[in-house]
Amino acid sequence: MPLYYELYRKGTLGAALTDSLDELIQAGHITPQLAIQVLEQYDKSMSEALSNKVKSKAVIKGNLRTYRFCDDVWTFIIKDPSFKFDHEMATTDKIKIVACNARRPGE
């Protein structure tokens, strides 16, 4: 079982990193093994940064349209959510929250 969650690879940053690694592999500049190490370091860095460096907090309220719990992963789809941050509020039409069991980085 990997030490860190890999779900952040699907985000914009992770997708951009994967695309760049693909290019480097295609061009022969790096090996797939090195690319794996880069991605694993990315997983670790994202987990640690989100755990240790992100201090802001938001309260999310909305209509819970769908909830799902499978393989220890919760998925919520919320309609018309509002995000209450420290000094501002944001709204949108719909959000999807994917929540995995909390682990400390490296746990």
């Binding site: 994967t18 690694l21 693909d22 290019e23 592999i25 295609q26 797939p32 690319a35 794996i36 420290d86």
Partner: protein, 873 residues
């Protein structure tokens, strides 16, 4: 004996204290290193065998505080671990070993007992003022890890919680919290709260037991820790989440406990006291960060108060109302009002015991006047209880005037407007008699309020007007439109190309837009009417008849006339002015009737004139002359056209005869001009699409909207559809999600609607012809992207398009794919014949999009020569 066991044994001998450091580092590396499985299993086994000795060594050093104080030479202190730095290292090493994993049945519980006992010793030293801060921090962190271990809680919850509570219930912990400052108490508080958050269910199930009640009293003490949260202490914020968790656990277990009730009552009193603002001189001296932290604390405390309401209900309301009305100091009154506001969403509408006292005549006015914070709290309270007030309409007569009066006070405007919004939104039906007063309020706001607040007031008042019978709308709106139209005309007369001079006009247009937004019938009413619901249809038809009124007709004509004169200003429009104009018209262009909606053909004409003024005009030779700022100005116009396409369908309350021809011609013109603009913008269309992502997105969104809502429009704009299909071929080659997504969305819609099995529409022959002409090029571009021309992150969009082609046009696609893949280097030289054959067979055979995505993804990996690597998997 293993190496670890040897290390553990040598610790304690002369000069061997460095082993403590090694043991900590070893555990840390063990937690983060990945080894081959067989090697890892062997090392883990060795380590587990050595674990009891390791823990014994660490505990031995940790407990170096005890023991004989005799002969305290540095050497003796070093050898016996009486130096704090060694104990700190040992605590940190223990943390690492805890992360590695300590077996619960044999080692964890004795270790926990030992750790808690040592914490008691440290607490005594802290009370004497003789402790080391880093040692306290390291010790409480280790204990925090232990009491927060969810795995142990799941397996040994009862044993662990009984052990912990037995220690926590003793006076030493409460004493160290009571007699320490914020910095000193914080690590203890964190540990106490972590235990509660991990063992909430146990606590909820044993509420009336002595050690649990002692624990909760300790948490209450943390909640009311002296000082002001964020300003000079950080302890009281720690337990807030725990009270919410405990409330949920109590609700789940349906536990009734007298102690819970009294504990939560103490929590409410503590939170209300803590939410009170500090004395003026303290607040003035606080820096911005500290104030922000106090504000953040209040917000979290508000959430915690909501949780306590679910336990205490009416008792809490009564206590807070009494507190608010009887408070001698404005800070306490404000804090009580804040608490009431925090629980507003949970108070049932039929609450009649306490809230009527709060909103009774004179009740709120008796609070000390002249204090902005207190007034703001009263206004926020009114907004928070708007829904409750809708069930108690007589009380609105006490509340609304107070909110309206606050609009005249600059410091309270924003809060008052927010409260007015909520009152109008929730009580629109009950405020019918107040419409004339509200309209006058809105008129006055045009002179007195900042632009943004004006808009909010206008929209709120329009909401109330809309809720009354449509036959009253014209009369109600007359004073407002008689103010707005002359102001608009005057601003237009003063208009110059200078963007700064356009600000007044933009504000006026935004005010009209806000008023129009408030007059929009709800989407669901329009939907029901369009699906034939007789009641909704009747209401909208009646409204449409009422809107033929002369005064509204004059306003509509005057608005369009003013906007057309704006277009005549040479080198005219700034981006903001254009957006404001389109928004002012667009807010009234709906599927349902609208008081401000011009005739549909007039709107099309206006949009066309605006396009010619801003984006492209017809040259003398008939070709379009693209303006210099076409790329900046065309996106909002394209958005307006998409809106027109959506609302253009015939309706029972409006006939839009012969608008399809005009709208179709407009679309054809717009798309043609965009393609011309893109062709001139860059050497290749791909580069142009990449440089103009917003134009690209809006153009394809317009196309998709037309296809979905009014495909018949395409008959009148065949060239537009062809242009977009051709543009799509180039957009599919751009390695950018912003460019690709709208294109695949549009092309996928074309493919679906052109399918032989699709519902026939007047545009079906056109769509089928376009598909036959362009689909091979789309297929080629899609396969090229899958094969490596585009990044793998863009595969989802490409997969959707490819699947749509396969699903709806299987036979021709089978032929096209075979032809394309015959080229050995297409889509990639790494894809073998066998791989291509397998890909084709699996793709054409599946009816499942999930399976198709998997097949495409596998082929993409093969094309990139990544098959067999763990990277690709």
């Amino acid at each position: 004996m293993t190496a670890i066991q040897e290390c553990a044994q040598s610790a304690g001998k002369d000069g061997a204290y460095a082993i403590i450091e090694f043991l900590g580092v070893f555990a840390e590396e063990l937690n983060t290193t990945s080894l081959a499985s067989a090697e890892q299993a062997r090392i883990v086994q060795d380590v587990r065998e050595a674990l009891p000795q390791v823990l014994q060594v660490l505990l031995g050093v940790i407990s170096g505080l005890e023991g004989s104080p005799a002969t305290d030479t540095p050497e003796f202190a070093r050898r016996t671990g009486r130096q704090a730095s060694w104990r700190v290292r040992a605590w940190r090493g223990l943390q690492q070993w805890l992360q590695f994993g300590v077996p619960g049945d044999t080692l964890f519980l004795p270790l926990l007992e030992a750790v808690l006992a040592q914490l008691r010793v440290l607490a005594a030293y802290q009370l004497r003022g003789d402790s080391d801060e880093s040692e306290i921090a390291a010790a409480t962190t280790a204990a925090d890890d232990m009491v927060g271990n969810a795995a142990m809680a799941a397996r040994f919850g009862r044993s662990v919680s009984e052990t912990v509570l037995a220690h926590f219930a003793q006076p030493w912990l409460a004493q160290v919290v009571e007699h320490s400052d914020s910095e000193g108490a914080l690590p203890w508080a964190t540990m106490v709260v972590t235990f509660g958050e991990t063992y909430t269910e146990y606590i909820a199930a044993h509420l009336d037991e002595d050690h649990v009640t002692a624990y909760l009293r300790l948490v209450v003490a943390l909640t009311q820790f002296p000082g002001h949260a964020g300003l000079d202490e950080e302890v009281s914020v720690q337990p807030l989440g725990l009270w919410c968790l405990l409330q949920e656990a109590l609700a789940d277990s349906d536990t009734k406990s007298n102690f819970a009730h009294s504990a939560y009552a103490d929590v409410v009193r503590a939170l209300v006291a803590k939410c009170a603002y500090p004395p003026t001189e303290v607040w003035a001296a606080a820096d911005r960060d500290a104030r922000d932290q106090f504000t953040a604390y209040r917000r979290e405390a508000g959430d915690a108060l909501l949780g306590t309401f679910y336990v205490l209900r009416g008792d809490m309301l009564g206590a807070l109302v009494d507190s608010a009305l009887a408070a001698s100091d404005w800070r306490h009154a404000e804090a009580a009002l804040f608490a009431l506001r925090s629980v507003g969403e949970a108070v049932p509408q039929d609450e009649n015991d306490h809230l009527p006292r709060l909103f009774a005549p004179g009740a709120l006015t008796q609070l000390q006047p002249g204090l902005t914070s207190l007034h703001a709290a009263v206004l926020s309270l009114a907004g928070a209880y708007a829904e409750w007030l809708s069930a108690h309409p007589p009380l609105l007569a006490n509340v609304v005037p107070r909110v309206a009066a606050a609009l005249n006070e600059p410091a309270l405007v924003s809060t008052a407007v927010a409260a007015l919004r909520r009152l109008c939104d929730n009580c629109r039906a009950q405020l019918g008699n107040a419409v004339p007063g509200l309209v006058q309020l809105a008129r006055d706001s045009l002179q007195t309020l900042p632009s943004r607040e004006q808009q909010r007031v206008l929209e709120a008042v329009a909401d109330v007007i809309l809720a009354q019978s449509p036959s009253t709308h014209s009369t109600a709106l007359a004073p407002l439109i008689m103010s707005l139209l002359p102001a608009l005309q005057a601003d237009v007369a003063r208009l110059t190309p200078d963007p700064d001079a356009q600000a007044a006009l933009i504000d006026c247009l935004r005010a009209i837009e806000a008023l129009a937004r408030g007059l929009q019938f709800a989407d669901d009413i329009e939907e029901r009417a369009l699906t034939g619901d007789p009641e909704a249809t009747s209401m909208l038809t009646f409204a449409a008849q009422c809107y033929c009124d002369d005064s509204l007709a004059t306003f509509r004509a005057g608005l369009l006339d003013a906007l057309n004169r704006v277009l005549a200003v040479p080198e005219g429009l700034s981006d903001d002015l254009l957006e404001a104009m389109l928004a002012a018209v667009g807010a009234s262009v709906r599927r349902g009737p609208h008081a401000f909606a011009p005739d549909f053909s007039q709107v099309i004409s206006f949009v066309r004139c605006t396009w010619e003024a801003c984006v492209a005009r017809a040259g003398s030779d008939g070709a379009s002359v693209i303006s210099a700022r076409w790329a900046d100005l065309c996106p909002p116009l394209l958005q307006s056209m998409a809106q027109l396409a959506t609302v253009a369908a015939p309706k029972p309350w409006r006939s839009d005869a012969d608008t399809d021809t005009a709208l179709g011609a407009l679309l054809a013109r717009a798309i043609g001009d965009i393609c011309t603009g893109l062709a001139h913008a860059a050497p290749t269309l791909e580069a142009a699409v990449e440089q103009q992502p917003v134009v690209n997105e809006r153009a394809f969104d317009l196309g998709a909207r037309v296809l979905l809502e009014r495909p018949g429009l395409l008959i009148h704009s065949e060239m537009a559809a062809a242009h977009l299909c051709k543009l799509g071929v180039h957009a599919l080659a751009v390695p950018s999600r912003l460019a690709l997504r709208p294109a695949t969305n549009f092309l996928g819609t074309v493919v679906r609607l052109a399918a032989p099995s699709a519902r026939t529409s007047p545009a079906s022959p056109l769509l089928q012809a376009l598909c036959s002409e362009f689909a091979p090029a789309w297929l080629r571009a899609t396969l090229a992207g899958i094969g490596g021309a585009l990044p793998r992150s863009l595969l989802p969009g490409l997969s959707e398009l490819l699947f749509a082609l396969v699903r709806h046009h299987l036979q021709p696609v089978r032929v096209w794919i075979a032809e394309l893949l015959r080229d050995p280097s297409f889509p990639s030289p790494h894809a073998s014949e066998r791989a291509k054959r397998q890909f084709t067979q699996q793709l054409l055979a599946t009816r499942s999009f999930v399976r198709a995505k998997a097949v495409i993804s596998e082929f993409a990996i093969q094309c990139r020569n990544l098959q067999g690597t763990s990277y690709a998997s």
